[in-house]
């Protein structure tokens, strides 16, 4: 019969000789491999005391950014939700009332913004789709929980703190083209 692959091996029932029958050389060879690994460089780290270094563009937990004046950038346009391949994002929009101009950037904002972290596949398409530079993925990882409900992250978790010292820096995630565009004061967007 013709082989389908060339990886098949022909097994023989050949009698073992004396050295093979006493097994000691085979055991010693196995031990040599085991102890040899003790002196190699460790591939694991002692988490949580030690954490790995993450790439600047690591795609972890999301953040909803505020602008320079501390107003929420998200305007609930729904583009992240329609771009999401896992359908993890839901939102409810509302109209900004007079007097809330210091809270929300545009006349419409998201009252409810939820990401189901169990559905999310961290592809970053939401970040890509966002026209308002509101949502970014960060280096922070999503914590484990005992309860499935706790993985639905609302605005209380996602929106970054208004305190300028506690803001989450995403400048390294932006491509050179975006940074170049933002320097151009011709666009109202950048004023």
């Amino acid at each position: 019969m013709k082989n389908l692959t060339n990886r098949s091996k022909i097994v023989s029932n050949k009698q073992m000789n004396f050295w093979e029958r006493i097994y000691i050389p085979a055991i010693l060879n196995g031990m040599r491999i085991t102890f040899g690994h003790l002196f190699r460089k460790k591939t694991t780290v002692q988490y949580p005391e030690v954490t790995r270094e993450f790439s600047d563009v690591y795609r972890g937990k999301h953040v909803l950014k505020r602008d320079d004046e501390g107003r929420e950038r998200c305007t609930a346009c729904g583009l992240c939700a329609v771009a999401c391949p896992a359908e993890a994002i839901t939102m409810v929009a509302a109209e900004r009332q007079p007097g809330e101009e210091n809270l929300y950037r545009e006349e419409k904002y998201a009252v409810v913004y939820e990401i189901n972290m169990l559905r999310c596949i961290f592809c970053g398409d939401c970040e890509e789709a966002c026209p308002k530079e509101a949502i970014f993925l960060t280096k922070e990882i999503v914590k484990s929980e005992y309860d499935r409900d706790k993985f639905i992250y609302g605005k209380d978790v996602l929106v970054e703190p208004a305190d300028p010292a506690k803001r989450i820096d995403i400048s390294k995630r932006q491509t050179p083209e975006v940074i170049e565009f933002k320097k151009n004061k011709k666009y109202k967007h950048n004023k």
């Binding site: 609930a76 346009c77 583009l79 329609v82 545009e106 006349e107 419409k108 026209p131």
Partner: protein
């Protein structure tokens, strides 16, 4: 019956038909886009210039080409006329410039605008527009006003197509709004912000090609691509009662008139159907409406195909079935 050729496709039409109507009889991609022309409103058209086409041959008797691009919505066909729409690079170039003109004062607030996803201007600028503006001027700005208690007017977004004015003139018994001032500063307004109270006034929302006139009962409720448009009807003493209900699960978020493939309303509906009947029990749901595959609304919507794609065995290509 006279013969015309549009983008190399011959068609026979009645005498007196406009080029745009002849193209619509062919259908598909040869139809020039129209922002102001509305077949159901007399006198509409000729304002936005997006439907410009090139007439390569005036008629069989006089085969000279027309010297300039013509507005297809208001130019009647002649026997033996040869029209170029998409096949002419000149037309595409002109349309690109026209999109730029239409967007001169149009704000870039699609993320906020309720029309986004079903906006003619959005489609047009996606198809022909440029990526950036070339002007430095500030856009004109107006306050947002209420026209009646159900309609919101964002004058910033208006492209002055006059469709709503013609609608009010021709299909309601007493016009209550119009265009004030002239040229650059002209604006749609009601007489000293009088409420528009006619029982068909809600149709100006459907007629508006952009998001200038929007439904206040649907304002910021959802984005259109999260909703499912369903054909629905009810017994109505004022209008035909045939509508499109935009649903999210079992909730009706908004009611609009049914639009045909050219984005024109099939039958105008009354305000009671549009604004007040939003319970599932008010309507008999017939079934999902067809959504164009290219539309953002078609994301995650599936519908049964009436015809299967036909695979041509010789060419090996697939004929697209809309």
């Amino acid at each position: 019956m006279i013969k015309v050729t549009i983008d190399n496709i011959p068609v026979e039409v009645e005498d007196g038909t406009t080029i745009l109507q002849a193209a619509r009889q062919i259908g598909g991609k040869v139809v020039p886009p129209a922002m102001c022309y509305y077949s159901k409103l007399k006198g509409s058209g000729g304002k936005c210039r997006t439907c410009l086409v090139k007439v390569a041959q005036g008629s069989a008797k006089d085969p000279r080409p027309m010297p300039k691009l013509v507005a297809s919505c208001s130019t009647p066909v002649q026997d033996g006329m040869v029209v170029q729409n998409l096949t002419s690079p000149e037309v595409r170039e002109a349309r690109k410039a026209i999109v730029e003109f239409l967007l001169l004062n149009h704000p870039l607030d699609c993320p906020v605008c309720d029309q986004a996803g079903e906006c003619d201007l959005q489609d047009l600028s996606f198809g022909y527009g440029m990526e950036e503006t070339t002007t430095d001027f500030e856009r004109r700005e107006y306050p947002v006003i209420d026209i009646g208690d159900k309609i919101k007017l964002h004058m910033n977004r208006c492209i002055l197509c006059y469709r709503c004015v013609y609608f009010a003139d021709q299909l309601t018994d007493k016009r209550m709004h119009g265009v004030l001032f002239r040229g650059d500063v002209s604006e749609i307004s009601t007489f000293v912000q009088n409420a528009v109270t006619n029982e068909f006034s809600g149709n100006v929302i459907d007629v508006c090609p952009v998001g200038a006139l929007t439904d206040k009962t649907f304002r910021f409720k959802s984005r259109v691509w999260f909703l499912k448009p369903m054909n629905a009807h009810r017994e109505c003493s004022i209008c035909s009662g045939k509508v499109a209900a935009w649903m999210f699960g079992n909730e009706i978020y908004r009611i609009t008139a049914r639009k045909d493939e050219f984005g024109e309303v099939e039958e105008f509906i009354c305000n009671e159907c549009r604004f007040e009947k939003k319970e599932l029990t008010d309507w008999v749901i017939e079934g999902p409406r067809h959504i164009k595959r290219q539309s953002v609304i078609s994301a995650n919507h599936y519908e049964e195909r009436k015809e299967q794609s036909i695979i041509d065995p010789i060419a090996g290509t697939m004929t697209e079935v809309e």
